[in-house]
């Protein structure tokens, strides 16, 4: 009896003492506590920042806002996803889904870049090699941050600026920074980035030349915006000074480096499987001209969101073929027919332009080479995003954020109607099978011609609206009457609603 009573007391006492700890430990995922900040892990985090470009929301946003809104493109009838119908008809407002998604993913990109920059802040390298590597990583992160800011400021105007990562709820809301302030951050980041990065070409990563190219784009934007009187760019001090700087930086790209060059033919640029495509990315045309693009490969281990589908015709779920200029056939794959070439603009291509005949078509063919009937008035397909070896959810097509020809044309525009300017625009025209540009034009007329040439060269790559905006031609070229938001899209309503630092009334946001 007594023994049992004793045992009970013991048991009670023991069981009450088995104090358990209610702290939660993470299992199977990384947190800020267990992801160490050494240089290898920072590079891994940098790659995570690059992955933002692969999201459907970013890819679609790039085209919906840069291409679909312009005079180049017409959407599939009845297409309402992401607000494509209102974007094209310029009936958009702060609630249009595409704005919110693109805005969000750009900030995700900024946040991921900030994580890298923060972690490497004050990092002491042990060897020079390691220091070079760290510099490269920081340089790329700053480049990415500047990239996102540059895209956002041209689309939306004054935006919140994030300098550090968000780790807690109370760090969440920040006010808007003026356009001038944003550009100043962009230029600071790009100049730092350019000096930190090496001049090595690495697949899908930025390098010194890429930063130079982007700097030239920043300056040309400031220059032409000031020169043509674009609203809210009045603060730019002097257009000519901007043109000079644009010429300086684009000059470095065009004349002072050996890793990127113009491709020999336009067709080769967009040939994902032809004789010009190979695993040796250092040598061949496509990769040499492309300066900044997302990582995307058809060897993806699982289904990914692809770009190519959005541009091509639907013909059941099987493949069909396209015909090349030389009569041979290239395999194509079915798609959602979203982005279609505006026939009115297509007609303005100069006759004999190889870009028009080689990169656009209305015809598709079945396996036997017989033309497939696409109806009475088939829409024009852009062939820049067709990977012949594509499978469902796996292809090589990519958005082309920056390529050599783009910078070459900026160089020409910045130089004006002088020898250098004419040389480079003629190189572009020559490759397209066109005659030289009329010599002896005035500076303004020459610059107009270059911008016009940009239209044909960079057609369907997502630059059009931004080019029209920076040359004050939006309303005229789009030709849909007086459209709202011609130069700056409204800040996404969600941001305005949830950020107490942003005044709900757009009129009352005093920053320009």
């Amino acid at each position: 009896m007594k023994k049992i009573k004793l045992l009970t007391i013991l048991f009670l006492v023991l069981s009450f003492n088995a104090c358990t700890d209610l702290t939660e430990e993470p299992i199977g995922f990384y947190t800020d506590q267990n992801f160490f900040q050494n240089s290898e892990e920072s590079e891994i985090a940098l790659l995570y920042a690059y992955k933002v470009f692969n999201f459907q929301e970013y890819m679609s946003g790039w085209f919906d806002q840069g291409l679909l809104t312009s005079d180049f493109c017409v959407p599939k009838p009845g297409e309402t996803q992401n607000g494509r119908d209102v974007l094209w008809s310029w009936n958009m407002d702060a609630n249009t889904k595409s704005f919110r998604d693109f805005f969000k993913f750009s900030y995700i990109g900024i946040n991921r870049a900030n994580a890298v920059i923060k972690n490497l802040d004050g990092f002491d390298a042990n060897t020079t090699e390691e220091q070079i590597k760290i510099n490269q990583i920081v340089g790329e992160a700053k480049f990415l941050r500047a990239w996102h800011n540059f895209v956002l400021v041209r689309l939306f105007g004054a935006i919140p600026q994030r300098e550090s990562i968000i780790e807690e709820l109370n760090e969440v809301d920040i006010p808007l920074t003026s356009i001038e302030g944003v550009y100043s951050n962009i230029i600071a980041d790009l100049e730092a980035s350019e000096s930190l990065m090496q001049m090595n070409k690495v697949y899908a990563r930025a390098n010194k030349v890429t930063a130079q190219g982007l700097l030239s784009k920043v300056y040309i934007t400031l220059a032409s915006s000031k020169a043509t009187g674009v609203p809210r760019y009045e603060w730019v001090s002097d257009a000519d000074e901007m043109y000079t700087k644009a010429a300086l930086w684009s000059g470095k790209v065009v004349n002072e480096q050996g890793i990127h060059a113009m491709a020999e033919t336009n067709r080769a640029l967009f040939d994902y499987d032809g004789p010009n495509n190979s695993q040796d990315y250092n040598l061949f045309a496509r990769e040499s001209e492309f300066m900044f693009y997302p990582s995307q490969d058809r060897s993806a281990p699982h289904y990914t969101q692809t770009l190519g589908n959005l541009f091509v015709a639907f013909n059941g779920y099987g493949p069909y073929q396209y015909q090349e200029l030389d009569g041979s056939f290239t395999r194509g794959f079915t798609g959602w027919e979203v982005y279609r070439v505006n026939p009115e603009f297509y007609q303005t291509f100069p006759s004999g332009d190889l870009r028009a005949s080689g990169l656009y078509t209305t015809k598709i063919y079945n396996a036997n080479g017989a033309e497939i009937n696409r109806g009475a008035d088939p829409w024009i397909i852009c062939k820049k995003y067709i990977d012949p070896l594509a499978q469902w959810g796996r292809d090589d097509t990519k958005t082309i954020f920056m390529r050599f020809s783009d910078i070459a044309l900026i160089y020409a525009e910045a130089q004006g109607a002088n020898t250098e300017g004419y040389t480079w625009i003629n190189k572009i025209r020559d490759r397209a099978g066109l005659a030289d540009l009329t010599p002896g034009l005035s500076t303004d007329a020459f610059r107009d011609a270059v911008v016009n040439e940009r239209g044909f060269e960079l057609h369907f790559e997502g630059h059009r609206l931004l080019d029209l905006r920076r040359t004050h031609q939006v309303i005229e070229k789009i030709n849909k009457g007086s459209i709202p938001y011609a130069y700056f899209f409204p800040l996404p309503q969600v941001e305005v609603d949830l950020n107490p630092n942003i005044n709900a009334d757009p009129e009352k946001r005093t920053l320009n």
Binding site: T8, L12, L22, F29, L47, Y50, I165, V172
Partner: protein
Amino acid sequence: MKKRFFLRTGILLLFFITTWSSIAQIKVTGTVKDDLSLIFGVTVIERGTNNGVLTDFDGNFIITVKSEKSVLQLSYIGMKTISQVVGQQTSFNFTMEEDAAQLDEIVVVGYGTQKKSDLTGSVSSVKTSQLQTQSASNVSDLLQGRVAGLQMVKSSDNPNAASEVRIRGASSLFGTNEPLVVIDGFPFGNDLSGLKQINPANIESMEILKDASSAAIYGSQGANGVILITTKSGKIGKSKIYVRSQISVGSFTSEFDRWKDPVLMAQLSNESKVNGGFLPLYIGEFNQGVYYPSIQELETGEYPHFTDWTDVVFRDMRITKNLTVGANGGNEDSRYNIALNYWDEEGQYKEHNYDRLNVVASLNQKITNKLSARINTNVTFTNTQRDNGTAFNRNPLFPIYNNGNPEDGFFRTNEMDFGNPVERRAAGFVDKGETLDLILNAALTYNITPHLKLQSTVSYKHGATTTDSYTPIGFNNSFDGIAAIYNYKDSSFSSENFLTYTNNFGKHNISAMVGWTYQKNTNRSSYLEGRDFISDALTNEALDLSAVDNRVIRNSAAETGLESAYTRWTYNYDGKYLLNLTARADGSTKFGANNKWGYFPSIGAGWNVHKEGFFGDNDTWNTFKIRTSFGVTGNQGVSPYQTLTRYGSDVFYNGTDWVTTIGPGTIGTSGRFTTFVGIPSKDLKWESTSQFDIGFETQFFNNKLRFEFDYYIKRTTDLIRNKILAPSTAFDFLPVNDGEIENKGLEMTIEYRNLINYGNFKFTPLLTLSGNKNKVIDIGTAADAGLIEDLYGNIYLPNRNNVFFAQLANVYAIGQPARSFYGYRTDGLIQNAEDAAGHLGPRGIIGRVKYVDLSGDGKIGPEDRTIIGNPNPDFFGSLNLAFQYKKWDASVFFDGVYGNEIFDMQKYTRTAAISKRWTPDNPNNEYRRHIDISGGDLVSDHYVADGSYLRLQNISLGYTTEIRKIANTKLRLYLNVDNIYTWTKYAGYSPEVGLEGLDFGGIPRTSTTTIGLDITF
């Protein structure tokens, strides 16, 4: 820490005080019998203590009591309790009388038992004897309509489908709404699918705890009510062997809705295409590689193929076998119950089979006079063979084989048509799962003194499932064969210790219970997938032979813990005035450092008015009890790790390889809309529900007519919801506590035992009625909850359940019931150009739905939407008619739901509706034009239908007899049919579509006829 100290001291003090009480002194003996014979197994206890014995085989008992003042209390199921003061006598002969009142029924409540008459809470007991005639693999299926306040919806008869259960409405938006299941004291979690492991034949009793006074003892797990299940233990007496066998045949209650007339089908399809401006399909030409015959070819029979795919895919009759064999017996020292059950069920799909082997062993062993132990084990092996995802809605004009000739191979519309069910069946698909479930429960009870009892339970539950799948070569776009193995393991451990003190001082009866629990859950999973194989021969048995490049490997794990302390104090004065207090503190690992602990108290009071002097003693009005309670329960149904920063990962192609990348922000949901989460929510805490209940129970006519009524109000606050963050933060959501929901309702139960009692014929009806009104009071601010305010003052949050051409149908609107339907109002169909005003473009085609321009702005647009329906019922109820005549028994059971609306997405997929469509020759105002148009219809009240129904749910007939020649063998033979007929206006297969009220289609329901034979010998 302070809490812990006081608790410990308190318990030790209690312990020492009570050991001062003196030991028993007088020995009393006696016999007990009923009208006919001596009864064994009668409980004889010394009232106010834990001192008790059971009568032996000869009805004898011996008990040692404290003093002459001690009161002996004898109780036995179905008999009136006898109370007798010991006085000078030491030997008694008792005769027990049948008790129709069952007031002294003992009811299992959390951490103990109580007499039903002493309860202050709202507790319903389910008579499992009635339920054991029906055939069901999961006991939750048997709860439908049995308990007032408990709403059960079963939307599928698939053997692997679970039913949804709500007790007194849904009180959480994003957390779980399922009640807590407790099996033999082991809290199993808020998940009814775990009940699959329990053989209904092995259940002794089921109690449903509905209000705060009864459920608050379970604290953070009790907000949705509690289902307490007690499994059978051994009974004292001669060993019995029992066999329960059932065979059931199930068949569809209605025909499949499919095209039987190919000509009509083709004509309607052509009409639809032409209306939409497209070329018709059935014109005798090839379209994308498939030949579609012309109407004429179909009419003349020139096109010979017509396949009834539902016949190919489904079984007409499904057989289920259920056999339980067990033994039960014991003596005062040792009681056992062992049983083996085999369940073999055919699913509706031809390939779908489900079988289960369950072994149960329980032992109650008295170790010393004061110490006893109980061990329960429950092991279940389950095997599921699934249906490989065969589709049955293929075009009936497609043949099974090319040209209808098996030698020409299987028919496919194109090389990527993987849907031919016969081809799939013949190919080597693998789609199966095996599960091992284990429940171990060991309890030690120590009667320290006659007044003080210590119980200590250790429980362990373990479930491991392995799922095998294989997709053969030729059935996937990208790979030649896909093989996978998925392993999932889930285990829970809990340790509970509580002390109970019972005593009485004159007419004051008190009891106090204090205890402590620790629970830990872990789960782990791993998934391996290989693609591209040489052949199908090895299916998924050799994943290492898959192509090296395309393998998928994933694993995950999670751990959560819960620590609790609880207490209950009850007091009653002479069984007249009742008071019940409970309190519980729960600490969970899921919440932040500031909020780990939640406190859940309750208070209940009752008055047995019939025990008062003024009530009198007449045969007409026998009992009347009023009770009321108020308390707080909680909900911790949120995923773990929300208070930690979470990084995400992705893969990046670097030109040669795919490398892993890690960084801030992890994907919350993916698919069409990717969302990011990962900021820690450090202040996250419990949701809490406070509930007020008032009710009364009364009996008339010698306790034959019983009436029970409850009114309750439940308010849930600190609702966990996702707060939306500004896009410039780079994150989408953060869980926060901010929201409020209210449920109010009435429950009523009326039973008239032996309403008709004529000769040997008896009739007992039982009616239950419940009505619950649900209202969303608050869910955050407009901006951070994504609340939208429309022109009509509706402030709502869309429920992210994509239905109907990517439009949302359910919303949480402030001031409205949860999940109300939101959309456009309609006014028939567009009959002419005038009607079409405001309808832009193709919406204005004549014959289409006519929407109402509520805003008056001249066009139909998002500002014309408002609340258009409510899936929550106004009330639901059931009626059970039980008959008895000598050895025969029968019952007829109805259940019904009224006032629930259904958003009928299938309205225009039904052949009947399409046939009645609007055409210029048949310009009606109900069935819209059949038109092939992109964009489809808008969410509107045109699709909202009344889902009220009355169903003849069950008819059963049984015959019980004894075969005295073979040593008291009892035999029961019965026949049972369920889901016989449903009276409803709803056009779909079944109005039971799920608690959100969305009809996602599906297949007809099943009616099952069961024949059973129970033998006990």
